[in-house]
């Protein structure tokens, strides 16, 4: 459990974090997204107290880290695994020795260290590279070793700063699988920092968008993707490209989450609205729920408000597309006119 309240970090004149309130429950995967320089890494560094907060508190596993003495703080930090932005492996140690480092410093017995290193390398699928040096590994392989090392002391919380940035989709997918497995099998609480929306869609339960040191939007991923008026939602679920639309149709953007929408919504909508052209569609598993995004074409003479309310009644967020903009909006997550 990570409880952050009023967290502020100031460097000289620059306020990098500005009153952050954020809670990650036990066994939850939280993602923090945001543009470069938003303060994401600083947030992670304040959680394990690599940086001292200027104000506010960080409570991990019930302990307020800033209040601890040197010895207690060291003990508390062992509960928090950290995966660094660029893996940060020691160049002169092999993969296995890198993973072993925190355990050796912890004073574990040789046999125990060897056993755990074996287990961890197996978990990250790197046993075959145990005796390679970092310079002999690919970026993705280094990142895996970094993850294994972050898990070496069996932390209850794992902070992963850009664990997948710069990796190919294949490596990204397998690392995400690995992280989800940690939560599912070991109950680890995860804070994942990323700028890749794929990562958020793929594994996060909740997401917070950081900008200029403030959380500008946050919520459970399922809730966020249903929002019609939110930039984060649009970033999370960009619309699939629409092939050239036929003439004489009004285009509508629809979003829904399958858990609140009848599987037969399309025929029901059509029964009320008449002909309905399906122009593009994408359904995807997000935050444990399947989410759909579609573009449909309707008779332009239909009353836009009526269309919107028909969809709303079905649990679907509908927006009329107008030449690069969006007209009437309605839906499960609220009503806005742009």
């Amino acid at each position: 459990m990570i409880e952050i309240s009023g967290l502020t970090k100031v460097y000289g004149q620059t306020t990098v974090l500005d009153g952050i309130d954020f809670t990650v429950a036990d066994g939850e995967i939280a993602a923090v997204v945001g543009p470069s320089g938003a303060g994401k890494s600083t947030l992670a560094r304040c959680i394990n107290l690599l940086e001292r907060p200027t104000a506010g508190s960080v409570v991990v596993g019930g302990r307020d880290l800033a209040a601890l003495s040197g010895r207690e703080l060291r003990r508390a930090r062992r509960e928090i695994g950290t995966v660094f932005q660029s893996a940060n492996l020691l160049r002169r140690l092999t993969a296995a020795q890198n993973v072993a480092l925190p355990m050796r410093h912890r004073g574990l017995e040789d046999a125990e260290v060897r056993r755990r290193v074996g287990d961890l390398l197996e978990r990250v699928d790197m046993l075959h590279r145990a005796n390679h040096f970092p310079s002999q590994l690919s970026g993705g392989q280094r990142q895996r070793i970094g993850i294994a090392r972050g898990l070496a002391l069996r932390p209850s919380v794992l902070l992963a700063d850009e664990a997948t940035s710069g990796l190919d989709p294949e490596s990204t997918r397998s690392i995400l699988g690995l992280l989800t497995g940690l939560r599912d099998e070991l109950g680890v609480t995860l804070l994942v920092i990323t700028h890749e929306m794929d990562v958020v869609r793929g594994i996060a339960d909740q997401v917070a968008q950081l900008d200029h040191g403030r959380i500008v939007e946050h919520g459970s991923v399922v809730d966020v993707v249903r929002r019609s008026d939110s930039p984060l939602s649009r970033a999370l679920l960009p619309m699939p490209p629409t092939p050239r639309a036929p003439e004489g149709l009004a285009l509508w953007t629809l979003r829904y989450a399958a858990d609140v929408v009848s599987p037969f919504w399309l025929s029901r909508a059509s029964a009320q609205l008449g002909d309905l052209a399906l122009l593009s569609a994408l359904t995807e598993e997000v935050g444990g729920s399947s989410v759909g995004r579609l573009t449909v074409g309707l008779d332009p003479n239909q009353d836009a408000h009526r269309v919107a309310s028909v969809f709303e009644a079905l649990g679907i967020t509908a927006e009329r597309q107008i030449m690069g903009g969006i007209g009437v909006v309605a839906g499960a997550a609220g009503e806005t006119a742009a």
Binding site: G81, S86, P134
Partner: protein, 223 residues
Amino acid sequence: MIPLLGTAWHDVPGLLGPAVWETARTVLIVMSVVVLVGGPLGLLIFNTSPLGLTPNRAVHVSISWIANLGRSLPFLVLMAAIIPVTRWVFHTTIGFKAAIIPMSVAGVAFFARLTENAVREVPRDLLDVGVASGSSRWQIISGIQLREALPGLVAGVTLNVIAMIEYSAIAGAIGSGGVGYLAVNYGYRRFDNNIMLACIVVLIALVQLIQFSGDRVVRALTR
């Protein structure tokens, strides 16, 4: 006037051999002091700096200042200035004992800087790995900082050894033994060209050998 023939070639090894040994012994003794004192000093200078593990301005500034002091005087001046100390410790101001104190002072100051530079090259992020996993300060210094800086430290030792050979030759001028003494006394004062030549060849060979071996070790340690 005596023709400037110099020492016969077959007598050169007899003179040169003990001189080389004298130089080697001096440098070896000095280098152990240098590494044992200069190394920790360099670690202290770096780790009390704003980039280090325990920033402490007062300690950083004062130790830094002392290390600079040891390097600001040309060795010849330092050596002369330090003679009273040498006399007090060893009750002599000539011979290889006399060279040890000024060489150690200059060497320690030099190596402190070389050590500081070597550990500065270790990315801060790597130290954070230790901090974040709850390692103790000493574990981070020995297990991460020194370990990662090892190639740089070996390069520093190589540089320092060569500087000490040079200093030992300068110390030859005030009557310490070694190759420098031989070169000054025979080669310079007695115009013994054979000895001069032999000294030059030996010094060049020595320095080349040390640099070559140092580079080899650095390469072997770099991953």
